[in-house]
Symmetry: C2
Subunit: 339 residues, 2 copies
């Protein structure tokens, strides 16, 4: 690949300093007309194209924001990105997206890639694998806004936007209980990210409140995917005392559960199934999937607002806001009245 | 926001040239130890952090590739991105993604955003709105690889990866004809991008080959979305001689069509419905959706290979490859045998 001409090349060709070239090109006072002419002619000869980024290096502003998400294939994250973009477009910001694919190694690379691309700030939702978040500290060290959303970590002292995940777990379980289900299992992820443990806590509290026992073998900790859903429900169906309803960690997992239940003649509402995230397909599958709406549009909007607040402050971390969004239940066929 | 310290600030503070600072920091010969020490101390005092991008400005390599897609919410594009990433990760490349949201204005901004982020190359699939592609010329002018995929434009002399779209339209129509449908409509987009007109051509050829008339009022040119699907089928159902099968421009449009058909008691297979793109939800909706697999993983892989070929050449445009991928039909319930 041909090397891009830089001001260094022009300086070398003319045997002057880089600073002279830079000043000549930007019409800075104190440079003779002869020098200016020589620089401009050499720039044309070498096919030099001024680089906006070079000026960004000086001003520290590119109007680009980097967003790191586990996967753009999840409607939830894609919706958040759309909403961040929408909210920031009037302020002139562009969004570039990096996927961690749930890998901490990729997430580390994402942070450095985005910083190298000179983004003005980073918004991120952690990979399932991530336990140590120290790779994000460089963003804070560079005094650039870092905002964590949905899958956050409290050890980083940065603004966050989350769902009330305890309440989400509580509401999901309560909805099933109100529909008459009595033995509610939870197929979720084994990973340490706080939102998942909080949802589990909320679920346990709802069971306790309704005097239902919390049974460890009804809590399946694995991954989140169609395959993990099939695996989780297969395990639950082998239990002596099988559950009559399942909460899935996300809608993909719920899809796997429903598919397996259909195969064994226990399709919802015989066994109730509740998803998480209200994916685009969830109203269209059969039975349509009850789920928890995590309001990704609102989440993206709040991230954008936090970012604008942060850049308006002298120091982006002068004030650290914590935004919590309230979940709502989307009631569809998969939790249809039991009995 | 606090301004980032640059070598310009260090140069100003010490009243030396930027070039001296740069050479001192990179341990270049010919700089006195005293100067070196002064520069390093001032750099520390001003909290200067060396910028990898500044070196990228010299070497012209960031190992970042920008990908512009209409929307990451479409499984098809998200899969292509995953596959490009997968194929290039061993070569050390990271991918950043920009969405055009089908807007030519956003696409123009995307090209400049990615070039400002100093990407080593750009891969793009055009927005529906895009008719003039001159904003992509800057990528070629900078002698960086530009690869167009799926939604391409022939006027740009760059490598492309496409589906055999004529064949895709031909196969979709042929599949419906083989299933016994005789009056096949097409709900697609009015936009000028070649792939859509080629699919329409393929559809027309299939009808002709089976001595079925091509009826203009059976071709609905609108947008592609669930809403557009509902709108398109509503229009078709008002026709005196209504179609008995529909090809939709994508699976979302097909979803809207199926939903409306269910409401009026004509759910597939009464009226057959065929989608395009094999979205993640398509096997799970009821009836499950027959569709055309455009092999996004293969498409992404070919884009990655083209990119590696291009950077290995002295001039990326020495050889311009055109890769065409063969479509396949995914046969599901929505085109179940008729009669």
């Amino acid at each position: 690949m041909k090397k891009r001409t830089t001001i260094y090349d022009i300086a070398n060709a003319l045997d002057v300093t880089v600073s002279t070239v830079s000043r000549a090109l930007s019409n800075f006072p104190g440079i003779s007309d002869a020098t200016k002419k020589a620089v401009i002619e050499m720039a044309a000869k070498l096919d030099y194209r001024p680089n906006k980024l070079a000026s960004a290096l000086k001003s520290g502003k590119t109007y680009i924001i980097g967003v790191i998400v586990p996967s753009i294939q999840a409607h939830f994250f894609a919706s958040i990105i759309h909403s961040i973009e929408d909210e920031l477009k009037e302020s002139g910001y562009s969004i570039i997206v990096y996927q961690s694919s749930e890998s901490v190694a990729k997430e580390i690379k994402g942070v450095s890639t985005l910083l190298e691309a000179q983004v003005d700030g980073i918004m991120a939702s952690l990979a399932l694998e991530t336990e140590d978040v120290s790779h994000f500290k460089e963003v804070v060290n560079q005094n650039k806004p870092l905002i964590l959303f949905d899958r956050i970590d409290d050890t980083l002292k940065v603004p966050t936007v989350t769902l009330n995940d305890f309440k989400a777990g509580f509401m999901a379980a309560t909805h099933l209980i109100e529909r008459g289900y009595k033995k509610i299992a939870f197929v979720t992820t084994s990973h340490k990210i706080k939102i998942f443990s909080e949802r589990l806590e909320g679920y346990k509290q709802a069971l306790k409140l309704h005097s239902l026992p919390v049974i460890e073998e009804d809590i399946i900790l694995g991954g989140l995917s169609i395959k993990d859903g099939r695996f989780g429900i297969s395990k639950l169906l082998r239990n002596e005392n099988r559950p009559d309803a399942i909460i899935a960690g996300d809608d993909f997992t719920a899809l796997g559960i429903v598919k397996k239940l259909k195969e064994v003649g226990l399709a919802p509402p015989i066994i109730g199934v509740m998803g998480f995230a209200n994916e685009v397909f969830s109203p269209y599958v059969t039975p349509s999937l009850s789920t928890v709406d995590q309001h990704p549009n609102q989440m993206g909007k709040e991230c954008a607002k936090l970012f604008l607040d942060m850049i308006r402050q002298l120091n982006p971390y002068d004030k650290i806001n914590t935004i919590v969004i309230e979940p709502t239940i989307v009631d569809r066929q998969s939790t249809g009245t039991y009995l």
